[in-house]
C-alpha cells in the first residue's frame, strides 16, 4: 500500500482518486477561516499542483496549508493541536491552516498500537517530533525556493506568517507563490527545530479549527453521511449478551413500507430500509427466538460473589518490592478494606454507526472510528478484497472515550452492504448502544496497609480481581474472520499481537495500571492481578484501568491517613520523596484550593492524586452532603503536568470534561447485569451529569519543558477519590463503591 500512495524517491504525495460509484468524499476536513482563502493577493496559477513534501503537509498555490491528520477528532481538539505543531515549525499564517483526515497508509500508523488508531492519549506525544520535523523541513524547502528565485543565499532569508522575507532588501514571497519552484527541489533531510523561546503558536490558546462547523450544524459525523442510493439499517441484537438467533419470522416486518432487506448477520438480524425510522419500526415487528447462550442467568451479584471468593487466592504478581507479608507481620497497625467498582458504559452522544459500500472490486467505509487500522483490516477480511481496495474515511466522532476503538459496528455495516449489494449505513439505537457496549470492567479489590510505630506506611498489598479488556478485541476480530481469509489475517494478526502494547494488555499489567505505578515510595509493595472474565464484553473506557485503580488507591491512602490521624495532604507528601513531578502537582492543587483554610459551613474538602500514564493530575473537591445523603460538588481545583502544552485552552477543557465524565460515574450511573444483559438502556436509567450539577472547575497547569504526555484522559481518575474523600470529611462515611448512593451516607 505504501508504494501505491507514495513515490518513495521524492516522497511525493499523490491524491488517491475517488473510486467510481461513490460520489462524495466525506471527512472531517476543516479550514481555519474559510473566507480568508479568497482574500489572498497572490494570483495563483490554477495549473500548479500543491506542494507535498511529506506525508503530513500540503500547500496549494493560494498558500493554504493542509495538515494531514492521522488521529480522530472526538472532542479533544486534536485537529487544532496537530495543526498548531506544524504551523509553529512552518512559520505558517494560522488563518490559512486546514486539516484533512489521513488515508490508509502505514506511514500514518500510531507507533504505540502498530496501526492507525487514536487512543491512550497518545496522539500528541507520538506526533510531536515527526510533525515538527515535517514543518521545519517544509519551511527550509520554501526558504531554499525563495533564495533560488531571488538568487541570494538561504541565510539572508527569514520566514514569518506564511511568507519568506529577504532581509537585506525587504522583498517578500508568500508560501503559495513558492509552491511551484519548491516542488522541483529536494526536501532537506536534516532540519533544525525551533527553540522553545521562539514559539509563537505552540503554548498559546489558539481557537479550535472545528468550532464554527460545530456551531452551525455543518460538521459531518458518521451518522450524517449521505450517499446516493444509501439504505439505513438497524440490527436486532440478541437480548442476552452472546446469544444466537434460533428462529426468524420476518413476514410482518418485510411488508412494511420502505423495507428493502431483512437478513441474519453474525451479530443479529439486520433490517435495511430507505430511512432509519422505517428500519426501526420494521425491526420491532420481527418475530425472533434466541438461544440465550452461556451468559443467561449471569448477574452482577453472581459476578461479585465469585470475585469475593477469588480474592482469597493470590493472583499474578505484577509488581513487587520488599516483602509485604513480613512487613505486615511486623507492622504496628494494619488497615484493610475491600473496594468494588461496577461496569460503566461509554454512552457516546453519537450512537455507534458505520456506513459501508461494498462492490465487487472495492469497498469504502465511512465511520466515526478511533481505529482506522482495525476498520481497514476487518473490511478487507470480510469482503475478501486486498487492503488497497478498501478505503476508510474518518468523519467527526460524536464522542469516543475508547468505545470507537472497537469495530463491531463496522463488521455489521460491511456484512450488510456486501449481502445487499448497496451502500448501507448501520445506526444503533441508544438502547443498542448501551446494551451492546464494551463496558469499563467491573472490579473487586482487596487492600491491606501496614504502618510502623511512627505511623509511616511501610507496606501496601493490592489484589485486584478484574477482567482484562484486550482479549475481547482480539477475539472479536478473529471471530469475524472466515477461514478462507485466515492465512492473510493471521499474518496481520501476528504483527498486531507482536506489538508491545498488545503484550502489555494480555499480561494483566494493563488491568492494574494506576495501582502498580503509583508515585508513592513504599518499601514493601505488592500488586496482584486475579484475572476473572465472566464473559461480559469489556473495553477501554476513558483512562482505562486508571479510572478504577486510582479511585481505589487514593481512597485507601486517605483511609490510612485517617486511621493514623494524619492530614491527607501531608501524609501523601511524605510518600512522594521520589516523585517530584507528582509532589509539585499535588502541592499546586492544594495551594490553589487553599487546603487547610476554613470553608463555609457544610462544605468539606477531599484531595486525590492520579493522572494517566506520564501525565500527573491532582484535584481538590469541595463537597456538601445534605440530610438526605445527597452529594453536591461545589468546586474542583485541579493541577496538571502534561509536559509541553500545545494549547492551554485544550488542557483546561479536557480536564474539565474529564471531571464531568468522572462525576457521572462517581455520583450517578453504572451498568448492572441481570440475566446476562445490561439492566440499563438509555439516559433515563444511565443518567449523565447535567449543567445544574456542574461544579466550578479551575485548572492550573504546572509549567514543563518535557515532551507532551497527553491530556484527553488524565482528568478522569482523580475526581472520584477527591469527591469520595470529601464525602468522608463531611460525613465520616468511607465510600468504597461507586456510584455514591445517598442511602449509604445516612445513619
Amino acid at each position: 500500500m505504501s508504494k501505491s500512495i507514495f513515490d518513495q524517491g521524492r516522497r511525493e504525495f499523490l491524491q488517491v482518486s475517488c473510486i467510481a460509484g461513490v460520489g462524495l468524499l466525506i471527512g472531517c476536513s476543516i479550514r481555519a477561516n474559510a473566507s480568508d482563502s479568497t482574500k489572498l493577493h497572490t494570483n495563483p496559477n490554477e495549473n500548479v499542483k500543491p506542494l507535498a513534501p511529506n506525508a503530513w503537509i500540503r500547500i496549494d498555490p493560494k498558500g493554504t496549508v493542509t495538515v494531514i491528520v492521522n488521529h480522530s477528532e472526538m472532542g479533544q481538539g486534536i485537529l487544532t493541536g496537530l495543526a498548531m505543531i506544524v504551523a509553529e515549525e512552518l512559520d505558517a499564517d494560522w488563518a490559512k491552516m486546514r486539516t484533512e483526515p489521513a488515508s490508509m497508509d502505514p506511514v500514518y500508523a500510531n507507533p504505540v498500537f502498530g496501526v492507525q488508531a487514536t487512543g491512550g492519549s497518545t496522539s500528541t506525544s507520538t506526533c510531536w517530533v515527526e510533525l515538527r520535523r515535517a514543518g521545519a523541513a517544509t519551511r527550509e524547502l520554501l526558504v531554499a525556493a525563495a533564495a533560488v528565485t531571488w538568487k541570494v543565499p538561504n541565510r539572508e532569508c527569514r520566514t514569518k506568517d506564511g511568507t519568506v522575507v529577504h532581509q537585506p532588501t525587504g522583498r517578500i514571497l508568500e508560501y503559495g507563490q513558492l509552491v511551484e519552484k519548491a516542488a522541483g527541489m529536494p526536501v532537506p533531510d536534516k532540519v533544525r527545530l525551533k527553540s522553545r523561546k521562539d514559539y509563537k503558536i505552540v503554548g498559546k490558546p489558539i481557537p479550535r479549527l472545528d468550532t464554527r462547523a460545530k456551531t452551525t450544524g455543518t460538521a459531518i459525523f458518521g451518522i450524517d453521511v449521505r450517499l446516493k442510493g444509501l439504505l439505513t439499517a438497524t440490527v436486532l441484537h440478541p437480548p442476552v449478551i452472546g446469544g444466537r438467533l434460533r428462529t426468524l419470522d420476518a413476514s410482518k416486518a418485510r411488508a412494511q413500507k420502505g423495507v428493502r432487506h431483512i437478513i441474519p448477520i453474525s451479530s443479529g438480524v439486520a433490517v435495511a430500509a430507505d430511512t432509519f425510522w422505517q428500519a426501526k419500526k420494521a425491526a420491532d415487528l420481527l418475530e425472533v427466538t434466541w438461544d440465550k447462550g452461556p451468559l443467561a442467568g449471569l448477574s452482577s451479584d453472581k459476578i461479585r460473589a465469585r470475585r469475593a471468593n477469588l480474592s482469597k487466592q493470590s493472583g499474578t504478581t505484577i509488581r513487587e518490592s520488599g516483602n509485604v507479608e513480613r512487613a505486615m507481620n511486623g507492622a504496628a497497625k494494619v488497615v484493610e478494606a475491600v473496594y468494588e467498582l461496577p461496569y460503566q458504559a461509554h454512552a457516546c452522544p453519537e450512537p455507534m454507526n458505520c456506513t459501508a459500500h461494498v462492490r465487487e472490486d472495492a469497498c469504502d467505509v465511512w465511520v466515526p472510528t478511533q481505529n482506522q487500522g482495525g476498520t481497514h483490516e476487518i473490511a478487507a477480511a470480510l469482503t475478501g478484497l486486498d487492503l488497497d481496495r478498501v478505503r476508510v474515511h474518518t468523519t467527526f466522532l460524536g464522542g469516543g472515550f475508547g468505545r470507537r476503538g472497537y469495530v463491531d459496528f463496522v463488521i455489521e455495516a460491511v456484512e450488510i452492504s456486501k449481502a445487499v449489494k448497496a451502500p448501507v449505513k448501520v445506526i444503533w439505537s441508544r438502547e443498542d448502544d448501551i446494551r451492546n457496549d464494551r463496558f469499563r470492567p467491573a472490579s473487586y479489590q482487596v487492600l491491606r496497609a501496614g504502618l510502623d510505630d511512627r505511623k509511616r506506611l511501610v507496606a501496601l498489598h493490592h489484589r485486584s480481581v478484574c477482567s482484562s479488556f484486550m482479549d475481547g478485541m482480539i477475539d472479536m476480530l478473529a471471530s469475524a474472520i472466515m477461514p478462507r481469509w485466515l492465512p492473510r489475517f493471521a499474518k496481520n494478526a501476528a504483527a498486531t499481537v507482536a506489538a508491545p502494547v498488545v503484550k502489555h494488555f494480555r499480561s494483566g499489567k494493563a488491568a492494574v495500571e494506576g495501582a502498580s505505578d503509583i508515585p508513592y515510595a513504599i518499601d514493601n509493595f505488592l500488586v496482584e492481578h486475579v484475572n476473572d472474565d465472566p464473559g461480559i464484553p469489556t473495553g477501554a473506557w476513558r483512562s482505562v484501568a486508571y479510572s478504577r485503580n486510582v479511585f481505589v488507591v487514593e481512597s485507601f491512602i486517605d483511609e490510612i491517613a485517617a486511621a493514623v490521624g494524619k492530614d491527607p495532604l501531608s501524609f501523601r507528601i511524605d510518600l512522594l520523596g521520589k516523585s517530584p513531578k507528582h509532589r509539585t502537582v499535588l502541592e499546586t492543587a492544594a495551594k490553589k484550593a487553599r487546603w487547610g483554610e476554613s470553608l463555609p459551613a457544610g462544605i468539606h474538602r477531599g484531595i486525590a492524586l492520579g493522572g494517566f500514564h506520564d501525565t500527573a493530575v491532582a484535584m481538590v473537591a469541595e463537597v456538601s452532603v445534605d440530610d438526605k445523603g445527597r452529594v453536591k460538588v461545589h468546586r474542583v481545583t485541579a493541577a496538571v503536568d502534561c509536559g509541553t502544552v500545545i494549547n492551554p485552552k485544550s488542557v483546561d477543557t479536557q480536564i474539565a470534561g474529564c471531571i464531568v465524565f468522572g462525576l457521572t460515574a462517581t455520583l450517578k450511573s453504572s451498568i448492572t447485569i441481570k440475566d446476562g444483559r445490561a439492566e440499563q438502556s438509555n439516559f433515563h436509567d444511565f443518567p449523565v451529569l447535567t449543567i445544574d450539577e456542574m461544579p466550578l472547575v479551575e485548572v492550573h497547569i504546572v509549567p514543563s519543558t518535557t515532551p507532551p504526555t497527553g491530556i484527553g484522559e488524565a482528568g478522569v481518575p482523580a475526581i472520584a477519590p477527591a469527591v469520595a474523600n470529601a464525602v468522608f470529611a463531611a460525613t465520616g462515611k468511607r465510600v468504597r463503591n461507586l456510584p455514591i448512593r445517598p442511602r449509604d451516607l445516612l445513619g
Binding site: 472532542g75 481557537p207 460524536g398 470534561g657 464531568v660 439516559f683 449543567i691 456542574m694
Partner: protein, 152 residues
C-alpha cells in the same frame, strides 16, 4: 403527502404520519445538524423550534407539526442566533460537538424569552440538554456573553 414548513421553506413529503420529526428532517430533508442520540426525549440533542418553542424532535410525530413553523440549527437566524454563535465561537464551546445544535437551539429560546438569564435560569433551561464531553462551563459562559452582547 404532507406539507411541512421548515426554515421558511415549504416541503411536500411522502412520509408515515407517526414518523418522528427528527427523522424527517435528517433522512428526508437532509438537515443533519439536528442530532439523534436517545430517541426518548431525554437528552435534548434533537432540539428544534416549533412555532418558536423548543421541541424534542425525536419524540414529536411529524403529523403534529403540520402547518407550524419549524426551525432547525441550519435555519436559526436573527439577533439572538448571531449573538449566540459569536459567543459560542469566541468561547470555543464545543468539544465533540454532537450535542451543540441542541444546546444552541435551547439557549436561543432562553435568551429570546429572558435576555438576561441568571445562573439559576440557565440551569433551569439547559439542564435537559446533555453534554457527555462536559462543556457545561463553556456553555454557561457563552450564554452570559451572548446575553451581554444582546443588551448592548
Amino acid at each position: 403527502m404532507i406539507e411541512l414548513r421548515v426554515n421558511e421553506n415549504t416541503h411536500r413529503l411522502d412520509v408515515e404520519p407517526d414518523t418522528p420529526l427528527l427523522w424527517v428532517l435528517r433522512d428526508q430533508l437532509g438537515l443533519t445538524g439536528t442530532k439523534y442520540s436517545c430517541g426518548i426525549g431525554e437528552c435534548g440533542s434533537c432540539m428544534v423550534h416549533v412555532n418558536g418553542e423548543p421541541t424534542r424532535s425525536c419524540v414529536t410525530p411529524v403529523d403534529q407539526v403540520i402547518g407550524k413553523e419549524i426551525t432547525t440549527i441550519e435555519g436559526l437566524t436573527g439577533q439572538v442566533a448571531e449573538a449566540l454563535r459569536e459567543a459560542w465561537i469566541e468561547g470555543d464551546v464545543p468539544q465533540c460537538g454532537y450535542c451543540q445544535s441542541g444546546q444552541i437551539m435551547t439557549a436561543a429560546e432562553l435568551l429570546a424569552s429572558n435576555p438576561a438569564p441568571s445562573d439559576a435560569d440557565i440551569n433551569e433551561a439547559m439542564s435537559g440538554v446533555l453534554c457527555r464531553c462536559g462543556s457545561y462551563r463553556e456553555i454557561r459562559r457563552a450564554i452570559h456573553r451572548a446575553s451581554g452582547r444582546l443588551r448592548k
